[in-house]
Symmetry: C2
Subunit: 490 residues, 2 copies
Amino acid sequence: MEKKATTRKEDYSKWYNDLVHNADLAEHSDVKGCMIIKPYGYAIWENIRDILDRMFKETGHSNAYFPLFIPKSYLSKEASHVEGFAKECAVVTHYRLRATADGKGVEVDPDAKLQEELIIRPTSETIIWNSYRNWIQSYRDLPILINQWANVVRWEMRTRLFLRTAEFLWQEGHTAHATQEEAVEETEQMLRVYADFAENYMAMPVILGRKTPSERFAGAEDTLCIEAMMQDGKALQAGTSHFLGQNFAKAFEVKFADKHGKQDFVWATSWGVSTRLMGALVMTHSDDEGLVLPPKLAPIQVVAVPIYKTSEELEQIEAKLVALGQSLKSKGIRFKYDGDDNKRPGWKFNEYEVKGVPIRIAMGPRDLANGQLEIARRDTKEKFTLSFESAETHIPQLLAEIQQHLFERSKQFREQHTFEVNSYAEFKARIDEGGFFLAHWDGTAATEELVKTETKATIRCIPFTENPEPGQCMVTGLPSAQRVIFAKAY
Amino acid sequence: MEKKATTRKEDYSKWYNDLVHNADLAEHSDVKGCMIIKPYGYAIWENIRDILDRMFKETGHSNAYFPLFIPKSYLSKEASHVEGFAKECAVVTHYRLRATADGKGVEVDPDAKLQEELIIRPTSETIIWNSYRNWIQSYRDLPILINQWANVVRWEMRTRLFLRTAEFLWQEGHTAHATQEEAVEETEQMLRVYADFAENYMAMPVILGRKTPSERFAGAEDTLCIEAMMQDGKALQAGTSHFLGQNFAKAFEVKFADKHGKQDFVWATSWGVSTRLMGALVMTHSDDEGLVLPPKLAPIQVVAVPIYKTSEELEQIEAKLVALGQSLKSKGIRFKYDGDDNKRPGWKFNEYEVKGVPIRIAMGPRDLANGQLEIARRDTKEKFTLSFESAETHIPQLLAEIQQHLFERSKQFREQHTFEVNSYAEFKARIDEGGFFLAHWDGTAATEELVKTETKATIRCIPFTENPEPGQCMVTGLPSAQRVIFAKAY
């Protein structure tokens, strides 16, 4: 582990890379663009996955699994979809290798060329809707509410761990409905599920809204999203939920008979979040000392470290800490006792700080004598002593408090970095500070594009609001129905 | 659903295909060799995965994720490994498509050719050991106990759902150790975990043993396996655990310093089970009416169907069944109440029979009046009535009984189809009956090959036994240390 990590102020991007490395979350593989998710990082992802999976099931969805390979021709069936995805995909052209003439290596066997090339799925709408055609005849077969946990590949030259990699892990929901209303309601429901997860598990406040037409998913009629603010003031799109209309049903000829026998195309949605959430999690809460994890996602919520000189001391302290651990585990708390004799307490303190463990307990001979423990909170770095008796009830409360505090702190940060601007001059002057800029926009792609070209800021979303306040576009002065969020983004 | 499915006697292979289709477990995709695992099939796989995952974690393993892509050159690094896997792999040669000249489709962009082709992982030893090189310096970094849940691809022309598909889902454990003893112990431990899972969750008896050298995993020094008998008397290899020696450490130059600073190559194991277990599960227990599931893996353990004419009857029956369901769910039982008014009870009975639900409850107006329920066991097809009051305690017991009965029944079947044979003439006369044939073998690859060529039977394993009984090879008369198991296999 590097003793002196880069700080956020020095170099935010390097801080992130160092942190992902030092906290043992992931690393680049020798295969260009692909990452290796290491056990500690994967344990966080497992928590994310398990919670989301439960939420999907509670809203009526089942998991299934569709092929990794998509025939090249499928991609062309939905016109705007192919535009969006064909440019960046891994293409399988052969199905066999053979020994080289010198016998020392292997080479592609030219006789094993596929008749039609296969694409590694960048997303699965096409292969799934090709199957739904056979599954759907009548309204009785609807809705279909399926989710898939899978790896997908979108070729990327410039990659960043978790944030942008050629292969990544994700879930993709693909639902089929008899009516437009039902599909729209599903699209909205899944956005709410994502927002619930982001705020109540990741402790990451998000803005719910709608993408502009130019930022929509390729093939969608409407793309809803949750947007989060990172500590450098940049936006990160944390999840999207798409209303696909009848586009994929038409492309794959998926019709159903309604109650009166009338044929119509099926209505569709798709929605997904990915290992990108890991990047969002890191950048929302972590500090210059390392990772800070919300308790609900932390693989280890409480770690206990004994401090001792003699083996007799160790024995007594260990007995106390292990007993406390048993009691905490019985309450469902993920507790680790680290009695490794080969490592000094200071080394361990640093290790668990870098790894973002929410609560660290230390106990030395004096604590033992006084019947107390030392508690260190990772989020605020506060330390205090606690009587041994009260620890059992206090620690679960403290975990809840940390979870809440992280959310409040992030929310406050976002509020402090969200600005209303009314002139394009002011916007251009301030956009490099970072943050969310609430500004009026005339609703045209031309204006959106102009702002993007001139400032690199994009419209992150048209936020849902109950009280849209009309105004005039900051660029053109034309009428605007409500303020939208401009920001630079990951 | 097809009303009249093929029976096992008529055509065992067609019976299997029909069953997988009728029980809604999986289907072939339009992508040659790839399957779609449907929600009901995937729910069973989720149960398999979750139980195994818990067992792996209880034995100290963590999950991680390595890239889907393996550079072609990695495969050549371990000489026997490339022999085994290079012939059947999907090769990625390009990373972009472009629009065709007529604008109507897409084609591979010749400018986007990869410098080195990438192979879709058929198994991950090479990519993982290439990473372990950077992770391991000293004995303090060992052992590494990692498992990965992933999709892998081995090109197959002739595929069968779950049993042999080009893409399949599996787990692959990859561990690194400081000593040979520890790696051997790990290999054996994981075989015991697999056997425990097969017998106590799948209710599928297995023989634990060792593969002959010619049946070893490509790159292994020793391959241990569990072998199960299907209802047609064929063997199915249900899991393998490999002691890899220092082969991959040498191929990828993975050395460590021991306590005294001496450098040595690291010792390795790998072990895996796949969606093939789904095929084994189907073929171990199911009957001519459809799937039969052991309760511990059944997505629905108990289904309740109301029988009624009036809505008043329905209301009363529903109240009773839902209350029972609540009580069963609180005991962790997966209960479903099927009150779908659009389907007749007979249709539902058939549906849940085909899908292998272990216990079906029916309740009609007369049952209501008598305070009783009708219970139908899927495994024995017995029906009996139960007082409403006793159901709550009796049903959990009955689930345990069904689980046990399925294991006993399969074990009895295996015993009835396991034969000792002492002459090759007898062997050849009887091998087509199906079953496991315990025979003496002289330990040579030549004899093994001869038997395989002449009879299509292979040595499934050299079973572990505490009392090896020496004898003479049934083919050559040469000395044999113990009987081995010959069988035809999936």
